[in-house]
């Protein structure tokens, strides 16, 4: 749909197309001048900060008061530098406009900062709520501080955090859209865990791993992880990404819903995981994510979750997944024998 009325659009088309920064409003132009002067000042400060950092790096440790003190000072100077970079551009109306239009260049710190702020304003709060509502935090990981936005979709179907997904849809491998807000490229591992597998013998629940893929490069600009196309082009067996292929999530008839938590785990710097070895050594049933993370030196950066329960397509999905013997299994509540109690005298209630 076009924006504005037909009359307005016609008037705009005929008028001269002045760029936004050159619109002839005096107060606006004066304000822009003030902001530009401030920006030049900030840029000068950035140059000074860079010079100071370089000087400190070149300085001998003994002069700067020990290794620890020097590192601390360097870190705080770097923080100040990043802050200055954001302050230089935060007042620019064009930057604001581009960010609102979604055209921001994520390689620039200001756009990453604005995107992060926007994410934390609402969408991350919802994610936090789902994490605590669905008890992901004590059940799977001891604590979780998501710093990257992870969106899950099965084909065209975008799944909000914690939504119930039809089993026919979740039979296929999903794709992830990951937005990180800090610079640089890093390798991540994607793990899908189901903490709600019922164990009849124990009258309890256990974990099951549905998917592991490692060594996926992610940066602020490359945001898409199509998990189904990860290994299509890879010929070399050692360069494969997928350690454990997708196991369709299943739930038995009568059993409570299953949570399927998708974790995005950042690998330690420069550490490449041997997927073949991981695939051989990892068992799907009884998979403990905490020990896996400890072993592979992973830190959680993002999470999303969806749920699955018994539906009309689940029987077919289980058949195709090789769980045909469990199709007719049905969970029922154990009858609780009522406590013996004496019927009271009916006359009392009359």
């Amino acid at each position: 749909m076009p924006i504005g009325s037909r009359r307005r659009r016609a008037a705009l088309k005929d008028s001269l197309n002045i760029p936004f920064e050159q619109l002839p409003y005096q107060c606006f132009q004066d304000a822009r001048k003030v902001l530009q002067d401030d920006r030049q000042e900030k840029i000068k400060q950035i140059e000074v900060a860079r010079l100071r950092i370089a000087n400190l790096k070149a300085q001998d440790e003994a002069i700067s008061g020990g290794k620890q003190a020097k590192e601390n000072r360097l870190r705080s100077m770097h923080n100040r530098l990043e802050e200055l970079k954001i302050l230089a551009d935060i007042n620019d109306p064009v930057v604001k406009k581009k960010h609102e239009d979604g055209e921001g260049d994520m390689n620039k710190p200001i756009y990453r900062y604005l995107a992060d702020k926007q994410w934390r304003q609402y969408r991350r709060k919802i994610l936090e709520q789902r994490i605590s509502q669905l008890n992901l935090v004590p059940d799977i990981l001891p604590n979780l501080d998501p710093v990257a936005e992870v969106d899950l979709a099965f084909g065209r179907h975008k799944i909000p955090h914690g939504d119930f997904v039809d089993s026919l849809i979740s039979e296929n491998v999903p794709r992830l859209k990951v937005q990180v807000f800090d610079k640089g490229e890093r390798l991540v591992t994607v793990v899908v865990v189901d903490p709600d597998v019922p164990i009849v013998q124990r009258d309890g629940f256990d974990y099951r791993c549905h998917f592991i893929a490692s060594n996926i490069p992610i940066s602020p600009t490359s945001t898409s992880i199509a998990l189904n196309q990860l290994d299509l082009r890879v010929k070399d067996a050692s360069a494969k990404h997928i350690a454990l292929p997708w196991l369709p999530p299943t739930a038995h008839r009568g059993a409570p819903y299953h949570r399927l938590a998708v974790f995005l785990l950042r690998q330690a710097d420069g550490k490449v995981i041997d997927t073949a070895k991981v695939g051989d050594s990892t068992k799907r049933d009884g998979f403990i994510l905490r020990s896996f993370m400890d072993k592979q030196k992973l830190t959680p950066v993002g999470v999303t979750v969806f749920r699955t329960k018994w539906d009309e397509n689940m029987a077919g999905v289980m058949q195709r997944a090789g769980l045909g013997d469990q199709v007719n299994m049905e969970f029922k509540r154990k009858r609780v024998e009522p406590l013996p109690y004496k019927k009271k005298d009916g006359a009392r209630y009359r």
Binding site: L23, Y25, C27, F28, A31, R32, L35, N91, K97
Partner: protein, 207 residues
């Protein structure tokens, strides 16, 4: 039952014409049931005001003003700006905020400089002796420390006689607070309290 007669007028069809005989300032809570109020025009359901078109009185001014203020909210409508106009507005707002921030920072810096220079002057006075020369070795000490020059009694404690008598004399004079309130009326120095005094007014007070 309506609490006062002026509320009757909010129901125009039942507006009692008899109430216009009352003085307009009457706000008494009179119990007036519809049965007890005599209708002057009992054959017509509409009020007399409809019949006298144009020249009838405009009703109670209080009601007019109440109606006016009920339909005219005190808050103006929110600004509805177009995209680019809002962006220009934002730009000007940010520039203004930046300007105010800079002004505030500059004012704070001035204050800080003034304070520092006063402090330095006091320090210099503290170390000055009777000949107007700085006492040797005293510059390394801060104001609070027991130094060579400075406060009263330092030299006496050290047993030095005569020599440091006048060291820091100007400093002590500058620190002397006697008479700083001279010329200020004592009423202005009275502090504000949460509750009035037990005796509200001191009738015996004279200057």
């Amino acid at each position: 039952m309506p609490p006062s007669r002026c509320l009757f007028t909010f129901r125009p069809t039942f507006r009692p014409t008899a109430t216009s005989q009352l003085p307009p300032t009457c706000l008494l809570r009179k119990p007036c049931t519809p049965t007890s109020t005599p209708q002057t025009a009992s054959f017509s359901s509409s009020s007399q005001l409809f019949a006298r078109k144009g020249k009838g009185d405009k009703g109670d001014p209080r009601i007019t003003s109440i109606r006016y203020h009920l339909s005219h909210a005190l808050t103006p409508r929110p600004l509805r700006l177009s995209r680019l106009r809002a962006l220009r507005h934002w730009t000007i707002h940010r520039a203004w905020q930046l300007h105010r921030n800079k002004q505030r920072a500059a004012a704070e810096l001035t204050l800080e400089k003034q304070y520092a220079s006063m402090r330095a002057a006091c320090e210099a006075l503290r170390l000055i002796d009777e000949n107007g020369l700085t006492v040797p070795g005293g510059s390394g000490l801060s104001v609070g420390e027991e130094g060579y020059g400075g406060g009263v009694g330092v030299n006496e404690a050290k047993g030095v006689k005569g020599e440091g008598r006048n060291v820091g004399r100007l400093y002590r004079a500058a620190m002397d607070k006697t008479g700083v309130w001279d010329g200020v009326p004592i009423e202005y120095a009275r502090c504000q309290t949460d509750f009035p005094a037990r005796e509200g007014w001191n009738h015996g007070w004279t200057r």
